[in-house]
Symmetry: C2
C-alpha cells in the first residue's frame, strides 16, 4: 500500500505543484468538489478588480470598445479553444450551458428537417433532458426526445434520428464515453452529434476537431474554475458556421448591431450565436481562471489526474474492501477526473467527511462523488482524504447526518 511518505515524495517531484499557489484554499481542508465548483485563483481576483476599478469605473461605457468588452465572448472562446481541441473562431463564451444547448438544439433540428428524433441518454444530466424536451416542444414539427440506455445507442441510430446529444462524462459515475467512436457511428447514421462537455473541459483532453464533432457546449464553473454560475461555452464546427441558425437571436449577433436594422441578419462565424451582452464581470472572472491552464497542458493535467484517481482507487480498494463500491470505471480510457463511490448511506458518509474537512458531494440515491483537480490537489491530499474516509466508515459518524438535505450544484 502506498505510504504517506511516498505521497509526499511524489508531490515534491510533481511538475504541477507550483500551480497550487495560484489558488485560494482553506487551511486544513481537502477540496474534492472542483467537479462541482472550482476554487478562486489569484488571476481571477486580479482580473475582476481590473474590470471593476479600471474598465468599468474609469472607462465606463467607452470600455465596450476600448477594453474589448464587445469582443470578449469571442476572445475568451479563442483562449478556451485549445482545451477542447478546437481552433480560433470555433468557440464562443456566453450565457449558461442550458441556453447554449437550446441554441444548438433549436438550430440543429432544422438541419435534418425530415428526421424527427432527438436521441439522448436517460442518465444524462437533467437540465439537458429538460431543455431538449423544451426545444422539441417549441419547434414547429413534432420532434420526439427519445431517452435511451447509452450503451444501446447503436440499436437506436435509425434514419429518423436528427440529433444525438450525449454528455461526455457521466455526472454521477465519472464514466467517460468514446467521443470519436460514437461521433463516427452517429455520422454513419446520417445524424448530427452534440457533446455536453460540462465534466470534461479542463479535466480531460478533448479533441473536438479530431473526433469530427458537429456541436459541443460546456460550463465554466467546474474544472475551469470560472466561478459560481460562470459563463458557458459552445463550439460549432466550421462546416456548420453560417448554416446553423441561432434560434434565440439578439442584437449582438446581428451583422451590423449598431445600424439598428428592423430585420435580423446573422453576423458571420461564431458571433452569430451571441444573443445579448453577457456579464462582463463574469467573463472577466472566467478569463482570469483560464490563465493557469496556459502554464501547463491538458496532457500534463491528464497524467496527474489519472495518477490521483489511480491512487484514490488503490487506497480505497486496500483499506475498505467490500465497504464501499468503486463505481467509476477502472480503465483509464473510460475514466475522467472524478471517482464515485457507492454506499447505502452515501449521504451520511459525505456529510461526515465534510465535517472533517474533506469536501465531496452526494448524488441521490447512493453516490459519493470526489473530484480530483491536478492544478491544486496533492498526492498527500488523496492519502489524507482516504485516511479520513476510513475513520468515518469505522465509526458511527456517517450513520446520523445532522444536516438538512444538501443542495450543491452539479
Amino acid at each position: 500500500m502506498t505510504t504517506r511518505e511516498e505521497c509526499l515524495a511524489r508531490d515534491a517531484r510533481d511538475p504541477l505543484a507550483p500551480l497550487r499557489d495560484e489558488f485560494t484554499l482553506a487551511e486544513g481542508e481537502i477540496y474534492l468538489d472542483g467537479n462541482s465548483l472550482g476554487p478562486v485563483s489569484r488571476e481571477v481576483r486580479r482580473r475582476v478588480d481590473q474590470v471593476i476599478d479600471e474598465e468599468w469605473a474609469r472607462g465606463l461605457v467607452r470600455s465596450w470598445n476600448t477594453a474589448g468588452w464587445m469582443d470578449a465572448p469571442l476572445r475568451l472562446g479563442d483562449r478556451l479553444a485549445p482545451l477542447v481541441g478546437a481552433r480560433a473562431g470555433e468557440v464562443l463564451v456566453a450565457d449558461t450551458l442550458t441556453f447554449l444547448l437550446a441554441k444548438i438544439i433549436g438550430g440543429a433540428l432544422e438541419l435534418r428537417p425530415r428526421r424527427r428524433v432527438l436521441l439522448t441518454d436517460a442518465a444524462n444530466f437533467h437540465s439537458d433532458l429538460y431543455i431538449a424536451a423544451g426545444m422539441a416542444r417549441l419547434v414547429a414539427r413534432g420532434v420526439e426526445v427519445r431517452t435511451i440506455d447509452r450503451d444501446a445507442l447503436a440499436a437506436h441510430l435509425d434514419e429518423d434520428v436528427a440529433l444525438v446529444m450525449l454528455t461526455h462524462v457521466d455526472f454521477r459515475t465519472g464514466e467517460m464515453l468514446d467521443m470519436a467512436g460514437i461521433t463516427r457511428a452517429v455520422h454513419d447514421a446520417g445524424a448530427l452529434m452534440l457533446w455536453d462537455l460540462a465534466h470534461s473541459t479542463g479535466a480531460v483532453p478533448v479533441d473536438l476537431t479530431g473526433a469530427d464533432v458537429d456541436f459541443a457546449a460546456g460550463c465554466g464553473y467546474k474544472y475551469l474554475n470560472g466561478g459560481p454560475g460562470a459563463p458557458a461555452f459552445m463550439y460549432v464546427a466550421p462546416r456548420w458556421q453560417g448554416v446553423l441558425a441561432n434560434p434565440l437571436p439578439g442584437w449582438l449577433g446581428h451583422a451590423r448591431p449598431f445600424d439598428f436594422e428592423a430585420t435580423y441578419e446573422s453576423a458571420p462565424g461564431m458571433r452569430a450565436y451571441v444573443t445579448s451582452s453577457p456579464s462582463v464581470l463574469a467573463l472577466g472572472a472566467l478569463e482570469g481562471a483560464l490563465a493557469v491552464f496556459e502554464r501547463t497542458s491538458m496532457a500534463e493535467v491528464r497524467t496527474k489526474s489519472l495518477a490521483l484517481t489511480d491512487l484514490f482507487i488503490e487506497l480505497v480498494d486496500q483499506a475498505l474492501p467490500g465497504v464501499v463500491e468503486v463505481v467509476t470505471p477502472r480503465a483509464h480510457d473510460r475514466r475522467a477526473s472524478q471517482v464515485a463511490l457507492r454506499h447505502p448511506n452515501g449521504y451520511g458518509v459525505v456529510q461526515a467527511l465534510i465535517e472533517r474537512g474533506v469536501i465531496g458531494d452526494f448524488r441521490a440515491p447512493d453516490i459519493c462523488r470526489f473530484g480530483f483537480t491536478p492544478l491544486y490537489l496533492r498526492y498527500v491530499d488523496v492519502y489524507d482524504a482516504v485516511a479520513i474516509l476510513v475513520d468515518v466508515m469505522a465509526s458511527d459518524a456517517h450513520r446520523a447526518p445532522r444536516f438538512a438535505v444538501r443542495r450543491a450544484v452539479t
Copy 2:
C-alpha cells in the same frame, strides 16, 4: 436664464446630493450616459469582494446554501420589486433581457392559442424585434410579428392579437408611453401585455400592479447601475404564475431540482422561470447596486429627474435656439429621464463633447442622447454640460470627428 450660481444653490439643498458620494466618478467628467451603463457604486465593490473573498473562496460549493446563492434570483427580485410597483414573489433576476423576453413571449403565445399576432412597435429596440421574430419562428403554429407605428396601436388591436410587446420608454427619443392606458386597451381587446422596462427601471416610477400589467422585463445595467451585462429581471403577474409555462426550462426551475427527475415539473411561483444558475458575481454586483435605491424613493428620484431634464431643455432652448432640436417630449407625463437632441452632425457633436469630458452617446442617424441620473448628477453638471455644448456648437469641433464609429450599448 438660470445661472450657474442658482444651480449650485439648488445642489446645496438637494436631498439626494449625499448619494453622489456612493459612486465612483471621474474628476472633471460629466457622465450623461447612465441610460446606457451606470457607474460603479461603493456597495457594488463591497458586495463583489464579499462574494469572491468570503462566499466563493471560503464557502466554496457550500455557499449555494449557506450564502443564499440558490435563492439569489428570487431574493434580488423581491428587492427590486418596489422599483417597478411589484410585490415580493413577483419578480425574478436572471439571465439577460433578451432571454427573459424569449421566455415570456414563448409562454404567452400559448395562453392565446387561437390568436396568431404579436404586435409591437416598429421603433422598438432591435433586440426585442429580433427575439420576437425568433420566437414566432420557433413556435409551432404560424405566429406573425406585426410591427406598427405605436401611435396607431388602437387600430391594430383586433381579435387576432395574442400579445402586445412595447418598450415603456423609447431608447432614442426618451418618450414615455402611457402604461396604464395602453395596458387597458390591450386587455379590452382580449390580448396580453408585455412591457420592456429597460429605460424605465430606476429612472421613472413604474406601477406594474396598478397598471394591471401581465408581464414585464428589464435590464440591470442602465439606471440600476448593476454593471456591464448585469443580470436582467422579469415580472409575471400573480394571475399568470403557474399558468405561464417556461419554454426554456432548466433544472433550477424544477419543483425538486435535487431529485434529478427525468421529467420536468415546474416549481411554483417565479422559480418556474429560473433556467440555470446565473453568475453569482454578477448577481452580487446588482445586489450591491440596488442598495442606494433603498436610501431614497422613486418619487424623490422622479422629482429631481424632471428638474434636471427641465433645466437641460430650458438652457438648450435659450442658448441654442434653432441649432439643435429637442426631440424628447416636453410634457412631464411623456418624458422619462433622458433628453435626445437632433442635429444633422449628431455623431460629431457627441464625439466633440466626449473629448471635452461630457459623456453622452449617439444613435443613428442624428440623435444625441443624454441620460440624467438623479443619484449622482448635480444641477451644476447640467449647467456645465450645456455650456460645453454651446462651445462645441459655436466652434468647428463637431464637424470633424476623429474617432471610428463608436459602439456603445443601448
